[in-house]
Symmetry: C2
Subunit: 229 residues, 2 copies
Amino acid sequence: MSTGVRRRMGVEERRQQLIGVALDLFSRRSPDEVSIDEIAAAAGISRPLVYHYFPGKMSLYEAALQRASEELKARFTEPHEGPLGVRLLHVMGRFFEHVDEHGPGFSALMRGGPAVGSTTTNALIDSVRQAAYDQMLAHLGLADAPPRLELVIRSWISLAESTALIWLDGRRIPRAELELQLVHDFAALVAVSAAQDEGMADVLRAMLKDEPADGPFAELVGRLSALGS
Amino acid sequence: MSTGVRRRMGVEERRQQLIGVALDLFSRRSPDEVSIDEIAAAAGISRPLVYHYFPGKMSLYEAALQRASEELKARFTEPHEGPLGVRLLHVMGRFFEHVDEHGPGFSALMRGGPAVGSTTTNALIDSVRQAAYDQMLAHLGLADAPPRLELVIRSWISLAESTALIWLDGRRIPRAELELQLVHDFAALVAVSAAQDEGMADVLRAMLKDEPADGPFAELVGRLSALGS
């Protein structure tokens, strides 16, 4: 029975603590630049003890990435209430919040530096993209998407990723502007596809049917009309 | 002096032949699945002779990727004549032609499989993206772009990449439709940004000023107007 002031952690508790410390370090700098020594120091334990829980930096990096992925997926969850444009705007806000908190780590991961790009990290990135895709389908009230809608949703998700990456590189545009822009972009990409395909025109009409006059979609139409006049 | 029927190749000629053979194989299947033995057989030389020119599969892969990058960059070149929408449509046609010819290799590369993702391959991908960006700026008649325009151009380039990747996965949408869609997408993304920013509104006006009534941009506006009625 321990009587010391510093309680000894259980195995799982210690693992979780290390993951949290590592995620914090991997988020604030490029993972290439973070050493095991630094992680050990930040966790207040010895270097050999880190290796007792994780065989190497890569496995600790993957565990940290797994946690970040779960956190990001949780941020995609949005109640199925109210207009679609407003829901998307909420999700974009939480997406940029995540990107903001994990900036350098997010950039390094998505740019595929030497410490990343393993089969495991690629599978984690894909699982986040799939979660985003599934959420979009659910908000559109669809169980499955025809090829053109699938392409629009998946390519818009990649547009959101690249927009966030470019934003991180200097933060020269206010975050809130880009969150709204991505909501507008989604409507615009659906509209472009709807101009060529009748099935997509139905999707666009269904999307806009319940949008209020003061929602983000109506705002875009209003601003574009003003530009044309 | 050689008197044989099969002329012996010079060093550089042999290197270039090997790169061509390797690029062909790396294009038609995922690079992970292509062996040095296969490349040697296709080139009609022995395995040790391949190693004489390239220290390993990775260096041959990188040389093949370098050639594919140069070929793709050359396809971006389009005369600065006629309406912007038509120019972009030509470039999109040649981009999809390239993607079509190198399908499995392009997918493997852009999805970041285990045989790729090195610092060299990432630098090659970035150089192609930069060439695409520089061409877009030149066609817009600009030496430099303000942050919002840079973001729109770079994120549209990533949209073109993801659209091509999704198209390759089953080819369920006619290629020509997606080439036109990406031209429309560019105008739409500029318009969305123009709805929020006066500088971007100027870019949009300049872009549309010389567009003919039967060009791709006017076609989009016509189709969208028809949808709304």
